[in-house]
């Protein structure tokens, strides 16, 4: 047999696969009596090298495990999908363990018996003798040619067997094998099996409840849950081609999207193979050669191929010095602890690789800046000019691939491990001169480091404020392959010792590249399982939404505290300072998909509660006053002036006056509690948060002679107008805060104080005019110059304050962003019923969207109001803010709050999903142009999948979860005269 490499070179098989799904009899072994020791060794070695393998066969565990007897130790997995789709075993060192079994009901067993008997009878009616030869798990097998000559035909005689069977059937007046199968299908349905799975191997007809396609569905779903895309899987069999007019048995192994699968047949295939299958005749010997080839590729350090779905990838082709920093931001890989820009690994003057650590600041006060950490991604070679260069970020697995020039110039794969945050991995293949480096770490520009060598590893340490970061890195250069591993240990409270970084590096090295890759991929798959959103009918939006979700998931640690700055870990702009962006825009996403990270964000606030109390006291108030802009210490770090983009000096009063942040933090805590049902939080630290923020408002509100409550001199979300009195957003959020605190603190604080809160809440003015059903944004708003944006600019968004000047803007009704409308989004129960549309009609034309936070909120509200075209337009704009660099500042990092807003638009706006203490209610609005919207969430610890179509809605969740659609409990719904009605079974 020719060398396999000679046969596959240049073909679809000339690459590394992440998993192999294969048939047993005829593919891996010639028959059930054959010695399978070579296959066993190959399977165990491949699992040891990190590959997943799955056998899919019609026979049972005794036959397969008895012959294969593999005992893999991992990290790759071995699955046995047996009994024609009815069973799955996972095989480990201790042997096979049942994972899943389809159990037939008594009724189904009886129906199978009846179907088999009826089939035999119908065939006998025409004089054809057949026999029921076995009753296997969930199926019955009928021998179509029960003659001694054909008692146990080998695979090699398949053509003769088929001829003999067809002759026998035609002799009885049937139209070949296909006709026999039709008889069996008909008999099965008549026996009460609504979806029988009837197949034939020429000698037999099998009637069952499952078939190999069920195995294939299971295994591809399982691999997907481990971060492996179907295009990364090799499917191997020996019977793909049709047999007697019926699909070949191994054609059932192909994943649902066949053109993406790589399939190979090692069988004789007398009728040829389908177009999506490669022919590599040679039987089990050819299959073994395939296994050996894959093992060699892994041992040689080949890089995994990317998953083939463009809806999961962001690619940058070429190198554009002008936009390089934007591209690097877009391609950032992060793990919640550190973030690394997607800069090229080679050097170039325009490339500025950077690594940032969450919550690690240098400087104090307004000069607090996110510390730049040593860089691990650089190779010393200069990026050659005018060569092909491509970078691709796989959003599903968090792998960043870089390809330079022809395939063998340089190719590398980088990732920041989500499974062990702070650990980063680089593997590069290429010409040696591009791989050689003086050292694996480089200090950040302008930073001061101490460095050294220990146990073969390089370490660097840099201080930042009271703390610092230590990085330990090791690398190995083998011929034309470089492996680099680094571990970052940041600590904002003390400069870390090198020991911890070295210890973690050693542990990572012991796990090895494949182990680290697998666990990272699995962790990303886990996160997507409760966070993905599918938009069917708009591929462009689909990809952009996943881009947003990817960076949201990368942004926050799920341990300790998480300081999520305005640009997260994707860039240094906004100096890593924390605003309401995190509490109101990012946290809800995490609360609903990965609660531990949301809890860590709240921990950031809780650990600064004392600083908030001190701030309140400084203002002569009680309770806690969270800062508008916060860094490490929890004090306000808002500067008092700045230059705007037109060069004018502007006073910055947000630190002094934008106090709604106090209620925003409480709102975030409430959102977390509602999504998670975390009673321990709600009765412990959450309670303290509610009480302290309520106390702040209670001390802040001034009650006039008429008993009306006022909050004077604040700035609302609309920062074009400052200061203002009775900003509706601030007042209503304060009211909500007081009421919520009163509710949760019953029995925990003195009753007079609780009643005082309720009284103040009731007294607070909110600017609502019930006749017009409008809220006045602040006292005196209606008296301002009644400009709308169309009077100012032909397009939006527009920085109206720069265009008109601050003074004129402040004197007009032009708004920076959603202010009154923000209430309808955050606290819809606190605003008057049916007030959304009049306020949307009034305020939306006045909104400049001078804040990048604004369009997504409007998208959500447009969706609630049924204005779907505007909703989708606003959503698309939000999604494109960074991709198109609309602000001109994406080079400094991505707009995380906008991304959180995108998620909220889809879930709260289009999905109409609302958590509460009672449960989760869904009231969707689907745009005409979309075929479906599918949301994956986590509610009260249980995964929830919601699929919304125009005429149907389906919910998958634990039965006990209190989920309703427009108030109605159920899991399947259909449209009925515009309303949702539970579907009948």
């Amino acid at each position: 047999m020719p060398r396999l490499l000679d046969l596959v070179a240049g073909s679809a098989l000339d690459r590394r696969f992440e998993a192999i799904v294969f048939d047993w009899d005829g593919t891996a072994v010639p028959d059930r009596a054959a010695d399978a020791s070579s296959v066993r060794e190959a399977v165990e070695a491949l699992c040891g090298a990190g590959m997943d393998l799955a056998v899919v066969t019609g026979t049972h565990i005794g036959n397969v495990d008895g012959q294969l007897a593999a005992r893999p130790t991992g990290p790759g997995k071995l699955y046995l999908c047996l009994n024609r789709g009815s069973e799955v075993f996972a095989v480990g060192e201790a042997g096979p363990e049942l994972v899943e079994r389809r159990e037939a009901t008594d009724q189904e067993e009886r129906a199978l018996d009846a179907a088999a008997e009826a089939t035999v009878a119908r065939l006998a009616e025409r004089g054809l003798r057949t026999e029921i030869v076995s009753q296997r798990l969930n199926r019955r097998k009928i021998d179509l040619i029960p003659e001694p000559e054909w008692s146990d035909p080998p695979k090699a005689r398949i053509t003769e067997l088929l001829t003999a069977v067809e002759q026998r059937l035609r002799g009885a007046g049937f139209d070949g094998l296909r006709d026999a199968v039709l008889v069996a299908e008909d008999a099965a349905r008549a026996a009460g099996l609504p979806v029988p799975k009837v197949t034939s191997d020429a000698k037999h007809v099998e009637i069952g409840l499952t078939d190999k396609a069920d195995s294939a569905r299971w295994i591809f779903s399982e691999l997907w849950q481990r971060g492996i895309h179907p295009s990364q899987v090799l499917v191997a069999g020996d019977e793909f081609g049709p047999l007697g007019g019926l699909p070949g048995s191994d054609s059932f192994l192909l994943p649902p999207d066949p053109e993406r699968a790589i399939a190979v047949s090692v069988g004789r295939e007398p009728t040829g193979v389908p177009k999506e299958v490669m022919a590599l005749p040679g039987g089990p010997a050819a299959f073994l050669a395939l296994l050996t080839d894959q093992l060699e590729r892994r041992e040689g350090g080949d890089l995994p191929e990317p998953g083939g779905d463009p809806n999961w990838a962001i690619s940058v082709r070429g190198f554009d010095p002008e936009h390089e920093r934007v591209h690097s931001s877009l391609l950032t890989i992060a793990d919640g602890v550190i973030g690394t820009s997607g800069s090229p690994v080679g050097s170039h003057p325009a490339a500025r690789p950077r690594v940032l650590a969450a919550g690690l600041y240098t400087g104090d006060g307004t000069d607090a800046d996110l510390a730049a950490c040593p860089v691990w991604t650089r190779l010393d070679g200069e990026l050659p000019h005018a060569l092909r260069f491509e970078r691709q970020l796989d959003l599903r697995t968090g792998l960043l691939r870089q390809r330079l020039g022809r395939k063998d110039d340089l190719e590398c794969l980088l990732f920041s491990s989500l499974a062990r945050p702070g650990t980063v991995v680089l593997r590069a293949h290429g010409v040696r001169r591009l791989l050689e480096t003086e050292r694996p770490l480089e200090p950040a520009a302008g930073s001061v480091v101490t460095e050294g060598l220990a146990d073969g590893a390089t370490w660097m340490r840099t201080s930042a404020g009271a703390g610092g970061v230590v990085v330990a890195a090791g690398e190995a250069l083998h011929d034309e392959r470089l492996d680099r591993l680094a571990v970052y240990v940041p600590d904002p409270s003390a400069v870390p010792d090198t020991e911890e970084a070295l210890r973690r590096l050693e542990a990572a090295q012991a796990l090895g590249y494949e182990g680290l890759l697998n666990e990272h991929r699995w962790r990303w798959a886990e996160r997507w399982a409760t966070a993905d959103i599918r938009i069917e009918g708009d591929d462009e939006l689909q990809r952009l939404v996943r881009f947003a979700l990817f960076h949201l998931m990368s942004s926050a640690s799920d341990a300790g505290e998480a300081a999520v700055g305005a640009r997260g870990l994707t860039g240094p702009a906004y100096r890593g300072h924390v605003f309401w962006d995190g509490d109101v825009f990012v946290l809800p996403f995490l609360a609903a998909t990965h609660p531990a990270a949301a809890r860590a964000m709240l921990e950031y606030r809780l650990r600064r509660l004392d600083a908030a109390r001190a701030a309140a006291a400084e203002f002569g108030r009680k309770g806690a006053r969270f800062p508008w802009e916060s860094a490490g210490a929890g004090v306000d770090v808002t500067p008092s002036f700045a230059y705007d983009q037109s060069g004018r000096v502007v006073p910055i009063r947000t630190g002094e006056l934008e106090e709604h942040i106090v209620a925003d933090v409480a709102w975030a805590a409430n959102a977390y509690a509602e999504w998670t049902g975390d009673e321990e939080f709600a009765s412990g630290p959450g309670l303290e948060l509610f009480v302290e923020t309520a106390r702040y408002w209670a001390s802040r509100i001034r009650v006039d002679r008429n008993g009306h409550g006022h909050i004077y001199s604040v700035i609302g979300p609309d920062e074009y107008h400052e200061p203002v009195d009775d900003n509706t957003f601030t007042n209503v959020m304060a009211r909500w805060n007081l009421r919520r605190a009163a509710d949760v603190s019953r029995g925990h604080i003195d009753e007079p104080e609780r009643r005082q809160w309720l009284g103040l809440a009731e007294a607070l003015v909110d600017g609502y005019d019930p006749e017009r059903r409008l809220y006045e944004q602040f006292a005196g708003f209606y008296r301002l110059e009644p400009l709308v944006i169309a009077d100012v600019s032909p397009r939006r968004p527009v920085a109206a304050d720069l265009l008109l000047g601050r003074a004129r803007t402040a004197g007009s009704q032009v708004l920076k962003q959603a202010d009154v409308l923000m209430l309808h989004h955050l606290v819809p129960d606190e605003v008057a019923p049916d007030s959304l549309e009049p306020n949307l009609a009034f305020y939306e034309p006045r909104t400049a969207h001078g804040s990048s936070l604004s369009p997504a909120i409007h998208s959500a509200l447009f969706a609630r109001a049924g204005r779907m075209g505007a909703a989708v337009d606003a959503l698309r704009l939000s999604c494109r803010i960074d991709i198109d660099d609309l602000t001109g500042t994406t080079a400094g990092g991505l707009h995380l709050a906008t991304m959180g807003g995108v998620w909220q638009a889809l879930v709260f706006g289009f999905g109409g999903v609302r958590p509460s203490a009672e449960g989760l209610d869904i009231d969707p609005r689907l745009p005409e142009a979309w075929d479906a919207l599918e949301l994956k969430l986590q509610f009260r610890g249980d995964p929830v999948r919601i699929r919304i179509e125009h005429e149907a809605l389906e919910i998958e969740s634990e039965e006990a979860a209190a989920i309703t659609v427009c108030g109605r409990p159920g899991r399947r719904f259909v449209r009925d005269a515009g309303n949702w009605k539970e579907a009948r079974e």
Partner: protein
């Protein structure tokens, strides 16, 4: 040795031209030579050159061709000449100056007759449109200025179309925007240049900011086309401003097409 040529005519501009050229010589690290075309009307050029201790070379032939030929010499880095003979702002560019700057493919410094006589250049204003030509043009100057410890102040003038649509938190947004503008359009100046941003008409803002920051020189890249309707910024700055202007010729293929591609704003936006 590199050379800087100061073209002196028999007008009030001669002294300013020579003083400006002297300061520029330090910046360019170039030797200064004064020239005068013709043997007549050389009283002022002679006396100014003598007073400055600079040799005066007499050129023959027609004025413009003689100056252009002198400027084209390999060792000449720039030519300095008066914008016009008479002071008083608002007057058009003199004929000689017009023809020289549209012919000579070298940097030319234009000095107004009423420009003060500088003792040294401390600050240079470099307006950048955010296009490739205006970005590349002053590269050499910026690198020289860095070594000569001369302040470079970049200026970008926004208009209603190019204005970034989002202001978010101005205390951070402006800084992030400016950092990226410099990185993108003046990467050789990162860490060494300042950036002023204004909203309005470029020609007006250039003169205003030059005055505001006390610029000794304004450096403009341009395509050397001064026909009616072309180069309005160059024309206005030369006609109205007292500050010397260094005009750096730049000729790039498809120059017109790059303009919109450099716009900060995407075409995707909500319609008002």
């Amino acid at each position: 040795m590199r050379k800087l040529i100061a073209a002196l005519d028999n007008s009030l501009a001669a002294g300013s031209v020579l003083a400006t050229a002297d300061c520029l010589g330090s910046l360019f690290d170039a030797e200064l030579e004064a020239v005068h075309v013709g043997e007549d009307h050389e009283r002022i050029p002679s006396s100014e050159a003598e007073a400055a201790g600079v040799p005066l070379r007499r050129l023959t032939g027609s004025t413009v061709p003689a100056l252009v030929q002198a400027g084209e010499a390999d060792d000449v880095v720039a030519l300095v000449l008066g914008t016009r003979r008479l002071p008083f702002g608002g007057r058009p560019i003199g004929t000689t100056a017009f023809e020289v700057i549209t012919s000579l493919l070298k940097p030319v410094v234009m000095v107004a007759p009423d420009a003060p006589r500088p003792k040294a250049f401390r600050r240079v204003l470099v307006p950048l449109e955010g296009t490739l030509s205006t970005s590349l043009a002053p590269k050499g100057l910026i690198e020289l200025a860095r070594d000569a410890t001369v302040d470079i102040v970049l200026l970008h003038v926004l208009d209603a179309v190019s204005l970034p649509p989002f202001t978010d938190q101005p205390q951070h947004e402006a800084r992030a925007w400016c950092d990226e503008f410099v990185a993108r359009h003046c990467p050789w100046g990162v860490g060494h240049v300042g950036l002023e941003v204004r909203l309005g008409r470029p020609e007006e803002q250039i003169l205003a900011v030059a005055s505001e920051v006390g610029a000794d020189l304004i450096a403009l890249g341009w395509a050397q086309e001064l026909e009616a309707g072309r180069a309005p910024t160059v024309r206005h700055v030369l006609e109205r401003g007292p500050t010397p202007v260094l005009l750096i010729p730049v000729h790039l293929p498809n120059e017109g097409q790059e303009e919109r591609s450099k716009s900060w704003n995407s075409s995707r936006s909500l319609r008002a």
